[in-house]
């Protein structure tokens, strides 16, 4: 089964074998997986997918692995929640939350990309996996590596909060703390990836890793009853997730699994790190890198690798991009929790804040079937809301005090 044809350069189109390479030798453009859609079409069907495992591996025909999954077997297939309350609040008739807060095993959408990356890394013969990360990615790589019995190196900047460091250490990878700026960390990791025969998931394995995000689109379409939404709102860091959601919808269309897709793909960033959204609003096809300063740390990528392609996707689909302030992020987190009972991390606050803005601007309309992607769990970013959720109401263990405090009537 040769569903994967090659890796292809997104800039010049030169093709390469499906190995651990990520940059075109010729023009240094990024590489992407190319599939044989005729072959896939001959075997894929709605029925076959529905009979598959209740995980993202039900879409294995469209994922860049050769054999069966060996790592991250339970990732994906998270709930698509019909958000009646939030929809009513915002004035949208058919709003859904794709809830990746509850992804297995580390509670963010990164469990998708890492499941694919590590399965592929094993196929390519790697024994050691690595990544550079401040949060969700590192947690997921470290957890999957320990369950897969692979050696693991996690590189982190020297100034991380204790909780984030712990979230890696618990899985016992080699946690390497690098003294220096984020630029220094980027540079060193790029060099280490060039030197070592390691699967650096978001460097030399990136073409495979990134494909995992397509499964968010596949699941959405299937859970909507085999149709594409009218609008999606997607948080952006590197911009990869946004471009892959679009790629996933287009693949389903191409294979005849859903009708023609006319989804508007909207991007969400935090004001304190909005290189992509700012470029979009200024009508530019390139972005200016920024130094991030926002509570949405999982989205704080100042020089995003896929920013250019994310801009192209929003333009091509007539979507929009917006950004929200830190206060609006906190409000977004609270709004989602208090209407739908879903506690998202700061990235989710960004998505909800931007969703609200796009509705206000009339870009998302009342009858648009809309899906908001909530990609990480609020328990990981408690600092963001700890000062704005109030305190418990403290009472003595006395029934009369309780009744008085809540101004309740005595029961008759």
């Amino acid at each position: 089964m040769a569903k994967m044809k090659s890796l292809v350069c997104r800039e010049c189109g030169k093709e390469y074998p499906t190995k651990d390479i990520h940059v075109c030798e010729l023009c240094f453009g990024p590489l992407e997986v190319k599939y044989d859609y005729d072959e896939i079409k001959a075997s894929i069907s709605r029925e076959k997918i529905q009979a598959g495992p209740k995980s993202l591996w039900r879409y294995i025909d469209l994922l860049p692995v050769e054999g069966q999954p060996t790592v991250g077997k339970y990732a994906g297939f998270t709930p698509l929640v019909r958000a009646h309350n939030l929809g009513a609040f915002l004035g949208i008739d058919e709003l859904y939350i794709k809830n990746d807060c509850v992804n297995h095993p580390t509670l963010s959408f990164k469990d998708r990309v890492v499941a694919i990356a590590l399965t592929r890394a094993r196929e390519l013969g790697f024994e050691t996996v690595a990544c550079a990360s401040t949060g969700n990615l590192a947690n997921s790589v470290a957890a999957h590596a320990s369950s897969a019995g692979m050696k693991c190196y996690v590189f982190i900047p020297g100034d991380l909060e204790a909780a984030k460091v712990l979230g890696n250490l618990i899985y016992r990878p080699n946690v390497v703390e690098i003294e220096g700026t984020y630029d220094d960390v980027n540079r060193l990791c790029s060099e280490i990836a060039g030197e070592r025969h390691w699967a650096f998931v978001n460097i030399n394995i990136r073409p495979y890793y990134a494909e995992g995000s397509k499964t968010l689109a596949f699941e959405t379409a299937e859970q909507l009853g085999w149709r594409a939404p009218d609008q999606v709102v997607v948080p952006m860091a590197s911009g990869s997730l946004l471009t892959k959601i679009w790629k996933g919808l287009k693949e389903f269309e191409k294979l005849g699994l859903i009708d023609q897709v006319s989804t508007k793909v909207n991007g969400a960033q935090a004001e304190g790190c909005s290189p992509i959204a700012t470029a979009f609003k200024n009508g530019r096809d390139f972005f200016k890198p920024v130094k991030p300063n926002t509570i949405a740390k999982s989205l704080a990528i100042g020089n995003p690798a896929d920013g250019y392609y994310a801009l192209k996707t929003a333009a091509e689909t007539q979507g929009a991009m917006e950004s929200v302030s830190d206060d609006e992020i906190v409000e977004g987190i609270k709004l989602l929790a208090q209407t739908e009972g879903i506690f998202a991390e700061t990235a989710g606050g960004v998505t909800i804040g931007v969703l609200q803005k796009l509705v206000k601007q009339g870009l998302i309309k009342k009858n648009d079937v809309t899906v908001a992607y909530i990609t990480g769990n609020g328990l990981k970013t408690q600092e963001a809301v700890v000062d704005s959720v109030g305190r418990p109401i403290r009472i003595q263990p006395s029934l009369s005090q309780f009744t008085k405090k809540f101004a309740l009537q005595e029961p008759a």
Binding site: V23, L26, F28, N186, C189, G194, R206, F286, P304
Partner: protein
Amino acid sequence: MASLRFHIRYPEEKIPDPILYQIGQEFEVITSIRRADVRETTGWLDVEFTGETDEIDRAISGLRDKGCIVDPIELNIVE
């Protein structure tokens, strides 16, 4: 000898300067441009540097001293 790949951005006021030429004169590195986009207010180059690792490091520092911003070819890797 090593070959390292970088994404180099120029500040607007440096666009007319022959920065890469100067770097090739000042340091023992071979530079090979693979892709570039230079416009009125923005400019970037994707370049391969070949030389001793320490000399490449010095050349990168030299670029930074001239006001350029130098990133690995993959841009931000810390996710």
